[in-house]
Symmetry: C2
Subunit: 467 residues, 2 copies
């Protein structure tokens, strides 16, 4: 993986300036805005930021950068968590946020086509009169291109799937500027290699996603939120397994542990709730079916010792889900000004209880403050490891704990990242998880991006990138 020389980099920026004029900048404040993402830690800004307005712009920019061996880092809303945007080898940040048109909506077919810079909130706003919604909800108001690139999911995945299922196809641009289309508007296809799923989760390292064909869902006729508060974490997790085994299809099953509940009660003023392990559940569907599912969920939770409240009115539900979305900020408020690492282990359901309890034990033993939230219907949980950023030993202990949570997830058949991606920070864990497949990943990377200009240093372990 070459780095552009200073001369190549300078020539490339000159060529880009000639082509794009004011839509490219080397101003430091703009470059710094495009350096990081939400992953914390210091990160390197790109050499320039370019604002394409069309597929042709992306294609022209890539062809020029490829000629000059100049790295290109696709940028959406800057909400990634694993250093995906860090310009570790310099290069051009390709800011797609200006490509934000919803191109068409097919109500009868539950699909739409959007430019990569459309955010999920914008899409749902544009869908508001259609009876449809876009169900993937990672919390952050990310762009849909960015969500595809990191294989995002979030609270609704247990019923509606992740970006892998939501993406029917994309229009993407290769490192040399060639444009290609994948997928179709059909709900399934057996026509050739599944390039759509190959690009979902590739973190901008194989091609730049310019447009997406997305699957939508009908807005359910009825929605009920259920809050079940359990005496123990074990009971809460057992309830999840029983609900899934019963063949129920809740839209969301979110766990908040004692510590997180205590933080959220304070931050989001959830006075009616107790600081015990809690499931936030939501069921979607026709009213009679929702009523029946609510009764079944309640019965399972009560049998495991839970106290149960339900919220049917939109205001009451929104309050709950706002609190769930604010869980991160509530947790950060436990240590104002502190550093944090979010883990992202995803394990088989039967391993969830052990995984969470082991993480909790280790956090407590290390004296770290670590609330837990989880998309537990999928076996995915996030421990937020808080630490004093000025305290080197605490920082090292936090990093070690995060690494061991990932390693334990891998050891029990799970994955070190359920939805945040690999980026810069999880490459060693990827190597551990996919040891034998690394040469295959590297061969594909090399086949599609022979000069390694696309988001270099990300996803693939260092050793794997020159096959």
């Amino acid at each position: 993986m070459t780095r552009a020389t200073a001369a190549q980099s300078g020539a490339c920026i000159e060529a880009l300036a000639a082509r794009f004029g004011g839509r490219m900048t080397t101003a430091l404040p703009v470059r710094q805005e495009h350096a990081g993402g939400e992953g914390g830690a210091e990160s390197t800004p790109p050499d320039a930021v370019l604002f394409p307005r069309s597929i042709e712009d992306i294609s022209a920019a890539l062809a020029l950068c490829n000629d000059h061996r100049m790295p290109v880092i696709p940028f959406g809303a800057g909400t990634s968590l694993e250093g995906q945007l860090d310009a570790v080898r310099g290069g051009v940040s390709l800011d797609l946020s200006g490509m934000n048109r919803v191109l068409d909506i097919h109500g009868d077919d539950f699909d739409c086509r959007v430019e990569a810079g459309v955010t999920r909130e914008q899409l749902n706003h544009e869908l508001r009169h259609s009876g449809l919604f876009f169900p993937i909800d990672p919390g952050a108001n990310a762009t849909l291109g960015g969500m595809a690139a990191t294989a995002a999911s979030g609270t609704n995945a247990v019923r509606y799937g992740t970006m892998r299922e939501a993406c029917l196809g994309v229009t993407a641009v290769l490192s040399d500027g060639r444009v290609f289309h994948t997928g179709s508007r059909a709900r399934k296809s057996a026509c050739g290699y599944d390039l759509t799923r190959l690009l979902v989760g590739s973190e901008g390292t194989l091609a730049v996603i310019a447009e997406l064909q997305l699957r939508l869902a009908p807005i359910p006729e009825a929605i009920v939120a259920i809050v079940a508060q359990f005496p123990t974490l074990a009971a809460a997790v057992q309830a999840v397994v029983l609900l899934m085994q019963a063949g129920l299809r809740p839209a969301r099953i979110e766990l908040l542990d004692e510590l997180q509940m205590s933080a959220s009660i304070a931050y989001s003023r959830l006075e009616r709730l107790a600081a015990t392990p809690t499931l936030f559940i939501e069921v979607h569907g026709p009213p009679a079916i929702v009523a029946e599912e609510k009764a079944q969920v309640t019965a399972v939770a009560v049998a495991l010792g839970a106290t149960v409240q339900t919220a049917e009115r939109p205001e009451a539900r929104n309050l709950l889900w706002k609190a769930r979305h604010d869980a991160y900020w509530a947790a950060r408020a436990l240590m104002p000004g502190g550093g944090s690492i979010v883990t992202d282990a995803c394990v088989p359901l039967s391993k969830l209880e052990d995984s969470i309890l082991a993480a909790r034990r280790e956090a407590d033993a290390g004296g770290l403050t670590c609330p837990i939230v989880g998309h537990v219907g999928d076996g995915n949980f996030h421990m937020l490891i808080l630490f004093d950023a000025d305290h080197e030993r605490q920082r090292a202990a936090a990093a070690a704990l995060a690494r061991r949570i990932g390693e334990r997830a891998i050891a029990c058949g799970g994955t070190c990242t359920g939805e945040h991606g690999v980026g810069l920070h999880k490459r060693a864990l990827l190597a551990r998880q996919h040891g034998t497949a690394i040469p295959v990943l590297a061969a594909i990377k090399h086949a599609l991006d022979p000069f390694g200009i696309l988001n270099p240093g990300k996803t693939l372990p260092e050793a794997a990138r020159q096959p």
Copy 2:
């Protein structure tokens, strides 16, 4: 794409014989059994058939074949429909049917690991006391490796997904014999390129799938089958769209048109049904939810003029689904001894009515006998084009009709193959559907199989295979 010279081929077979002894044969009857699949038409047998018993066997065989530039054609149950097994360049058929162990079943996690030669009926038999089942049901008793290779789906896909969703990971072998693992047992992952989905649907052209980690589903507490008979085809299809829009999640929604119903009534003795456009629907879940869904499905169908019968007892349901599975043979009985082509278009739901009616009009205009069945919840329909195999003009007309059905599906945003794959017969349609992506497909093929030994002549259009 090279073909092994006679000398290379002879040397390779000698080397394989030395390694595998009686587990390799060049006997013509065995080779002929491995030539075809169910796609009809004449096809070339392989030069030899090899029966591996382990991943090490597959690895050794591939390494030898790669050294000799000898084509390798993975073989499961021989039920593919698009010429995937035709040894167009000679080579070795790798018959995986002896690798038929269910390696483990994780009841709590709804997953299992199997060798590639396990068939779906065998798996469901082994699961019979577990409370779980494997929901993907293409009709034929295919092997699970073969089903993954062709991205199979079938009647249950509308609720349970296709092989893309069912495969959590695989163990596969590269053309040079290297073994690698993909995926994990977690329900989702954002850890690196999605090699699992890349191999699903790759028809043995990228790697040989040796083992699969599969997602299972809990056996629903209650199952009800609903038969709705409509006055017109249009009304039947409209009912499907309304059901999907209402957010219902039936397990199956199968269409049989008038001609197919008339064939099936005769073949399967469905005396209580009429020869009108019919939906076979099945709903799965807890009893109260199933009762509610049954009521809603019935209401929608009746509002569109349907007469509705339900079947709740297993015997009555099995009779119906046996008839649905036998639809192909019932239809073939309309022209005993005749040839047939099965089309596999899959289109956006809003295009389904037009697509089916256009196919029907064209079939009628050409004087061809063409019953239709469809997994209409997915927008997928099969027209079975029957023709007199000795009548050259009829054969040509049948082929032209099949091609135009595929072309029309592509033109309206769909795919020429929803679940049968590309194989030998749909390569021109693939080129039309994925024009701009062909160089990307070819680059990946070349990166993973540089000598082109894996199922040569399949999936990729001829022109694309030498990048």
